[in-house]
Symmetry: D2
């Protein structure tokens, strides 16, 4: 879907950088080198991940080799991959930081503590984007306030549902609690809705399959206003069926 919608969006918005959360790229859970390569070939500048990062074993060495893909910085330092990356385009550098919430999710250390060290790795970048992959809104909102004025944007991921609270915070940091997902809005967090309903009604295990009903691309577009400051943030919610919607 990204393949179909990204070129048009790129033309329309002319972004300097495109960053994608890819933790559900492989059939709804995790990512493999195949999907990562496809995303990079589409011109994606950096890929962030989340709690399903290590689901597929093939991605482990890839995370070590490919600098444009990051997993949460506050995972253990011994886990494959890194939590920050710096990409460059047209003479501008973008530092990308990936963090994981620690409430109802496994992380090596608290995100609001670990982020201090993460930011030092990208401190000199022209712009900084932080992807906070977390379950509860409190961790995301608090991180947004904590980083307000220090980074260009804090965007949340993981719930698969876009929030309506995007804005530039008073200190100049663009913020949204969740960008949503690029996937089937006709499912439940991207999987077939009939399966989710059945599992919740019966408590019986089931193998989930990705839904293909009503695919959408979801994200945000952040405009910068000088070093590590946002001028504006716009929500992108685009149906694959009606790209111009």
């Amino acid at each position: 879907m990204l393949r179909e919608l990204l070129p048009g969006l790129r033309e329309e918005l002319a972004p300097d950088f495109v960053v994608v959360n890819g933790e559900n790229a492989a059939g709804g859970i995790g990512i493999t080198p195949k999907e990562a390569d496809e995303l990079l070939k589409l011109g994606v500048d950096a890929i962030t991940l989340g709690n399903h990062t290590f689901r597929h074993r093939e991605i482990w060495p890839y995370l070590a080799d490919e600098r444009r893909i990051v997993r949460p910085y506050n995972y253990l330092p011994t886990q494959p991959g890194r939590g920050t990356t710096i990409v460059e385009a047209g003479g501008t550098t973008l530092g990308v930081v990936n963090l994981s919430g620690i409430v109802h999710l496994q992380a090596g250390s608290p995100p609001l503590v670990a982020v201090d060290a993460a930011l030092r790795e990208v401190a000199h970048c022209d712009q900084i984007l932080v992807d906070m992959h977390a379950e509860v809104t409190s961790e995301k909102v608090a991180l947004g306030w904590y980083l307000d004025g220090k980074v260009t944007a804090v965007v949340g991921t993981h719930t698969h549902v876009p929030t309506a609270d995007f804005r530039v915070l008073p200190g100049g940091t663009a913020y949204i609690t969740d960008v949503g997902m690029t996937g089937a809005r006709g499912g439940v967090i991207g999987m077939k809705k009939e399966q989710s309903i059945a599992v919740m009604r019966t408590h019986m295990p089931m193998r989930y399959e990705p839904s293909e009903v009503d695919p959408w691309l979801m994200g945000v577009f952040v405009e910068s206003a000088g070093p590590r400051k946002a001028a504006a943030i716009r929500q992108i919610l685009r149906s694959a069926a009606a790209p111009s919607a």
Copy 2:
């Protein structure tokens, strides 16, 4: 804040019914008869609750006596109060159902199972509103799909962050994953942001206090289209500082 903004909204939208989730009415956590009475005096037709329902002991008998306030139906039958209510205005009846998610929250039974019995209690109503108070989006989205075509609206609460996924589902049910909160957008889920940040950075206990920075009223306006069907759903996000924003 509701006191200041509700009259204007009422004039503007002329709703048949106003339903408010009141679980954070008492200084950010729970509700007491004082707040409930105030809400009802403002002309609120029904009050729904959530995981903080029983925080204040004074509300326990109130829940038994006052039919216009409901707590999650899938709590234990022995807990005070009821999970559905029927209110009437201008010859129209509205059934209100309150449910709790069971993931990361304590409930007596799974919401997608319990809802069947809850709906029977309001089956004959002209319109039905379901407030699903839940942490994870999957439970809310799945309930929306499960009830699509059976009720007028499924609205989520609890995360305090409004979502951008409101729409009328194909079967005619208005849906939103979270209406957000009526409270301080300058805080973290309504509490002082400095306290939330401090707790997350230090892991030390702290008594939270409600924030007063940047108060907003958040909700949705649902238009009906015949019995138990929605024609449209609009998001209401209104700053107390600039009511016309």
Copy 3:
């Protein structure tokens, strides 16, 4: 291991009934008809289960057909199988009740509520055994006290570690928080210790395999003292390497 140790134990203790928790019978997780049949062939009178009950799909119809195997009563009524059974030997009836904790485990309703109805199904039995499969000790201890005087024995399972608190409570109910497991004491909850350690030190996913180091049979022997009363409870901790230990 049960195969090797049970005959000797049976000779030594001459129990009227043998009840086994079988939720880890199939290679450490869950159970299939093969293991259940083997247990029943060994003369086991009843099999109880727990959170891994439905892991293997082959057991689903088996649970419906075979009355001597039970899964937690406070699972959903729509889930395969039943939560109580009555077995008979030498003119004596034994009611067996299986329950699941609800803290950190998925259950359809709270065990201390559901148990009332479960007990009604076995009320007329000469003896009653309750297997409480739970994570936290508080749920097990509280159930023991709640049922003290109402059943012959409340025995806990799930943690795989035997507790040293077995005794007959004042009301006449034999109690232990956890019977432990029949499995490799040289592992971690029955699985290879190297794998557990690696997962906890690296946070990387791994497929666990059952340990074969230092197998033990663990359980309790309860002597009755009239209807639904215990005279004594003894702990059975027997190494497979040294059966007479």
Copy 4:
């Protein structure tokens, strides 16, 4: 109770060191300087803590000042207190390490990772005792295996129920999953059993009070066998009503 039983025990066992977990010393939850001082005056050599460490604000500065009390090492470095201590008696040094589980408990980092640095702080001690305060048995058992041969003893706390798995592991480390508690065996994890039962049956909030029914002292006695090695571990389960039991 410790006050009454400790002198007799001390005479009987003549331990070189007495270490007590004090996280429930203050009326069942947490500890204040008053209880800590009392324990130290009784001749306790070191106090370990757990998830209720910071419940009472008065203990915060105390933890910084008093070297004989430790809180989990894998809490955040910015939290008051320290996670290891070294005490000395009769020319022998004992290093004490306190750790917290991270499953269902809040900790700053995983215990099986953090323990490496903790051990370096006490590496030169004659004996080393590790108190692992954790909910799930897997974390405790795995830590025991991980440290087998490296420390004198790994003892678990937190569940309030003593386990029957104490033994010297093959590498020479004494191990027990849980020492139990010094408190009312007639309650539920030390609190009044009627309250626990009521909360679990009604899901209504309640303020717990410590039970005084059937008080016991529980612990283990470890005999050393040269540097950082155990020769034996004995379980101490002593009723306050019948001290000689």
